[in-house]
């Protein structure tokens, strides 16, 4: 029934939206594109709600992230598109550094935040994805592992590597 479908879909959307958004953000480094792809990912889930709702948690998580991953691949099939995205990252950094959010100004120095943003963009992609999913979506290593088809220990190792690189970079400043 339509009402049941909407309830099931809304529950899945609430459960996975932050994680999928963080994954897309890390893969695209573009807030606007990641929101577009998030919508497209969940639109496909909506169209397949009957079959996806029947899956177990792990399989369902795998399905959702496979869709998201494929959408990123489609989006950035050419290197030219990727270069354009990297340029947009710079604009995004500038926009955030220009900051309208007072809390950020209180919590951290703007220069440090700008530096961190640039360093995160320079991380190897696998480390950036894990870091973003843990930091932005507040996912556990277990959840990230299920999403990326990685053992939790590997997730923790990549997270450690990412943090170490960022900490080293902050130390050098």
């Amino acid at each position: 029934m339509a009402g049941d479908d909407q309830a099931r879909f809304t529950q899945l959307f609430d459960e996975h939206r932050q994680g999928v958004h963080a994954f897309l953000l890390a893969r695209t480094s573009d807030a606007e594109v990641s929101r577009d792809l998030l919508q497209e990912t969940f639109l496909r889930l909506w169209r397949h709600i009957d079959e996806v709702a029947e899956m177990g948690d792990g399989q369902r998580r795998g399905w959702i992230y496979t869709v998201a991953r494929n959408l990123v691949i489609d989006r950035y099939r050419t290197e030219a598109s990727r270069r354009e995205a990297v340029t947009r990252v710079g604009n995004e950094v500038a926009r955030i550094a220009g900051g309208q959010v007072d809390t950020v100004d209180r919590m951290a120095d703007r220069d440090d935040l700008e530096h961190l943003e640039a360093e995160i963009a320079r991380l190897p992609e696998d480390q950036r994805v894990v870091l973003t999913m843990v930091a932005v979506a507040e996912m556990t290593s277990q959840q990230v592992g299920e999403a990326l088809d990685l053992p939790p220990g590997t997730v923790r190792y990549k997270l450690h590597q990412a943090r170490q690189r960022l900490a080293d970079s902050m130390e050098r400043r």
Partner: protein, 79 residues
């Protein structure tokens, strides 16, 4: 064990994550937009319909045109 670099990195990472987290208003807007989309469910006969269409297209593409089979008119090749 927390180190000095962790002490410095963690608040920055928190601030960065806070900036990038999908906020509830955006999430709500995306959710409502998706739920407005009709769910395009496939008819039970979609596979046979598709097969019929593919077969028809293949037949059209591989059949010689009728005109090629028609006998040439009397004297068509006369000089």
């Amino acid at each position: 064990m927390m180190t000095t670099s962790d002490d410095r990195l963690d608040p920055l990472l928190d601030a960065w994550a806070h900036q990038h987290r999908l906020d509830d208003a955006d999430a709500d807007s995306i959710l409502r937009s998706i739920l407005q989309e009709p769910r395009a469910t496939l008819a039970a006969t979609w596979w046979s319909n598709l097969n019929d269409q593919v077969t028809a297209a293949v037949l059209r593409a591989t059949s010689p045109a009728d005109a090629l089979w028609a006998a040439p008119a009397e004297g068509a090749f006369a000089a």
